[in-house]
Amino acid sequence: MSETNLEKDKRKIKSEKKMRDIMTTYYIDAKTARQNNKKVAWITSGGPVEPLIAMDIIPVYPENHGAMIGASKMGVDLCEKAETMGYSNDLCSYARSDISCATVNGGPIGGLPEPDMLVCCNNICGTVLKWYEVQARYFNVPLFIFDTPFCHTEYTKEAKRYVERQINEYILFLENICGRKMDQDHMKEVGKISFEGQKLWQEVLDTAINKPSPLTAFDAFFHLALIVTLRGTQQTIDYYQGLLAEMKERVRAGIGAIPQEKYRLLWDNLPIWYRMKWLSQKFAEHNACLVADTYTSAWCGSMKYIDESKFLDSMAEAYSRIYLNIGVDEMAKMVIEMIDKYDVDGFVLHSNRSCKPYSFGQLDIQRVVEKERGIPCLMIEADMVDERSFSESQISTRIDAFMEIIKERKISSRVRETES
């Protein structure tokens, strides 16, 4: 069934344009930092950005750049280049693309601005440690490693002591490079704004509880950019307030993200950046909406550990207990919570070659979901940026088969309901 252009237009999320403008300005600022006497820090997506904002350092995210490289379909070329440099093609495609991109200033924005410092927090994976070591050697700039010990089943007091001490080391590191002390009051402000931003992002994601959902996970992947990159800035709050208002309006007017939402699904793992439109359309053709995902909720998932009034102190626990730094059974519990919260009919797991911490354990999480909620699960084997690992006809068949099962179940359960 095809929509009229008018209907399609109504369904389009208006805030998108604003996001594009903000991100363009952000990257221009980053690339002209030196002219404005500002410093640039490259930081990992799970790293504590608030102190950077408080020190007026521009944070740049090679992973966000990696997503852009994937979305512009430039991943294959850059990954091939990394392989000629000697990097195995089994390594993370974000890392491969970034390492090669830096040497040729490739990618969709002509390369990232050179860093004055590197901040690497390993709460998301061990790959970033190696990636940032490579870049530290390449750019010959100071590297700060924020080591957040893995929380298999608990956040130990030993880890707490270690991480809290590193927060102080981190601030000293920044102060040394900038040649000035951090303004503690400003830092408190930034902490409050960061928390506010995370709250707003959670509220935006929560609008997907409504039926029909006003946004899909694919929309969330797009609108995620600000809470990742500029968390702690007023701009982030303004933007998400606007987005939330738009979502609430859509809910009020009954405007769903897809024309006919009959089936609701949960997505796990990073997006397949170069096939978002194709995937979105493929599921929409089946009247299925990916209403929520485990990836975007990671940037508001630590709120329960943050004490607004003591942001710097509680940062230690908040950054140590993110979704990827906890045990597989803990992750499974959170998946079940999301299945219930968003009332989904099925679970789609992207088995992402590039991300071992996210992908290893999925087979067990899938079993837990099947056992405890009995909903169909689909595993899609691909990669987030390297399109050579994506096989369209095969994934298409699997999605079709998965949706056939979901449809059958809905019909059967309706039949059983009317019979009982």
Partner: protein
């Protein structure tokens, strides 16, 4: 109601006509490079061989890799649903279906109502498919049809450890050079394919009764190796190769 199913695979195209749960006829031809033409031909051939007219066919469902090229079908379903429906027709108690085709393999788990509960597909790697056996048959200069019988003569299967079809072929050639007997090598090849497929099957869980379909089901050696690896009895569908088309015809009756 009389219905038809068309299953367009990458190597062979199959058709089946089913009426009130009975199989009236089946047909297999090579697909060639024109899937649409193959769909038309296999259907027409089956009709004429069965002495039937297309006007007596109420609904048609297409399935398989080339399902979207069967323009005269009323609806398409994936091979998962189709294989499930085909196996269910032959045995309504069936709970697990293993399909090993020329170019892919899959495992389908059904619930107690005969509905598909879960499935897993291996479509990335030739080592768990019929292609693996074809490559080996060429290397051994043995007719693929003789594989099953020959392997059952073996007392001690050779060990083949390569995960990759191409490298396993090199391994087989070295085994021949070392003087290992053909039945033992073939038995080893069957162990290998069974190991690959049973890993995949374990992901959906094995619930009895189990049925195997697809071209490779005709190979008694592979079935035997699978039975031992999984520790269950496996029924071989007598309509192994055309199971998908039969299932498609069954699904057509639900439209």
């Amino acid at each position: 109601m009389r219905t038809a199913g068309i299953d367009i695979g990458s190597i062979t195209a199959k058709a089946a006509i089913v009426e009130d749960g009975g199989i009236l006829g089946t047909k297999i031809i090579f697909t060639g490079y024109n899937a649409e033409a193959a769909g038309v031909k296999v259907y027409q051939d089956l009709l004429s061989e069965s002495g039937l007219d297309t006007s007596s066919i109420a609904k048609i469902v297409s399935t398989g890799y080339g399902r979207n090229s069967v323009k005269f079908a009323d609806k398409t379903f994936t091979e998962i649903m189709a294989h499930a429906a085909g196996a269910y027709l032959l045995n309504p108690k069936i709970r697990t279906i293993i399909d090993i085709g020329g170019q892919d393999s899959k495992a389908i788990a059904l619930d107690e109502h005969g509905k598909v509960r879960n499935f897993v597909m291996n479509d990335k790697c030739a080592a768990g498919t019929g292609r693996f056996l074809e490559v080996m048959a060429r290397a051994l200069e043995v007719n693929l049809d003789e594989f099953g019988a020959m392997s059952l003569q073996s007392k001690l299967p050779s060990k083949i450890s390569s995960l990759c079809t191409v490298f396993a072929e090199s391994e087989v050639i070295s085994l021949i050079a070392r003087g290992e007997k053909r039945p033992d090598i073939i038995a080893g090849i069957h162990e290998s394919i069974a190991a690959r497929v049973s890993s995949m099957i374990a992901r959906v869980g094995v619930a009895e009764p189990v049925m195997i379909t697809g071209g490779v089901a005709r190979n008694a050696g592979v079935v035997d190796a699978l039975e031992r690896k999984l520790g269950v009895k496996i029924a071989v569908s007598s309509y192994a190769q055309v199971n998908g088309a039969i299932g498609a015809a069954v699904l057509a009756a639900t439209l």
